[in-house]
């Protein structure tokens, strides 16, 4: 898939609503396989309603940016910054959870694994983007 084609897809107003529904279907399937059909159905319903609301929401910049059809270079930067902040929040939460678990005499799992994956992912991303120039 070319970069332009993938950009056209993510900048469609249908991107986030369809992504929400697709994610809901995956959760529904996994929950069904795990014998928790009711939980899966609720999750699917929540995600489907969210997708519908986003699709039918107004034309504010934030909504259009989140939805996809209002994305330009400035919103892409906002998205990148928001993603970085989200990553930092998750990292701090995992470190705190690991410290608390360790202080309680627990193994610290799965926080240690998640932190390791996060750290490795960051290093690989740095190497990749540095290599690409």
């Amino acid at each position: 898939m070319t970069k332009d084609r993938s950009r056209a897809i993510t900048r469609s107003k249908w991107f986030l609503p369809l992504f929400s529904v697709a994610l809901g279907l995956v959760i529904l399937t996994v929950s069904w396989l795990g014998g928790q059909l009711a939980t899966g159905a609720i999750s699917f319903g929540v995600l489907a309603v969210f997708g519908l609301l986003v699709l039918l929401a107004g034309r504010s910049e934030t909504i259009r940016g989140l939805r996809g059809d209002g994305r330009d270079e400035r919103f892409a930067r906002i998205d990148l910054q928001a993603t970085a902040v989200t990553g930092l929040v998750l990292l701090v939460a995992l470190i705190v959870a690991w410290l608390v678990a360790t202080a309680r005499g627990q193994s610290g799992s799965p926080y240690d694994w998640l932190l390791a994956i996060g750290g490795l992912g960051y290093l690989l991303a740095v190497a990749w983007f540095r290599w690409r120039g």
Binding site: G70, D72, R74, F75
Partner: protein
């Protein structure tokens, strides 16, 4: 970054939305550039300069920001 986007846009009698449409960005992005809250990418800066028929240096002032 200080710039003359607003001045040039008004000279051309264009609304922010019209300039935004011509540049393929949102009206809010044009507004942010004019208010010097957002520094556009090099491709957008070049497109703006080309659109107004000036150089990037004439449009943006990196010394004054």
């Amino acid at each position: 970054m200080k710039n003359k986007v607003r001045t040039l846009r008004i000279q051309k009698d264009l609304a922010q939305g019209q300039l935004a449409e011509a540049m393929g960005v949102s009206r809010q992005t044009i507004n942010s550039i004019e208010k010097e809250r957002y520094t556009p990418s090099l491709p957008l800066a070049l497109a703006l300069a080309r659109f107004f028929g000036v150089t990037v240096e004439e449009m943006f002032d990196d010394q004054g920001s």
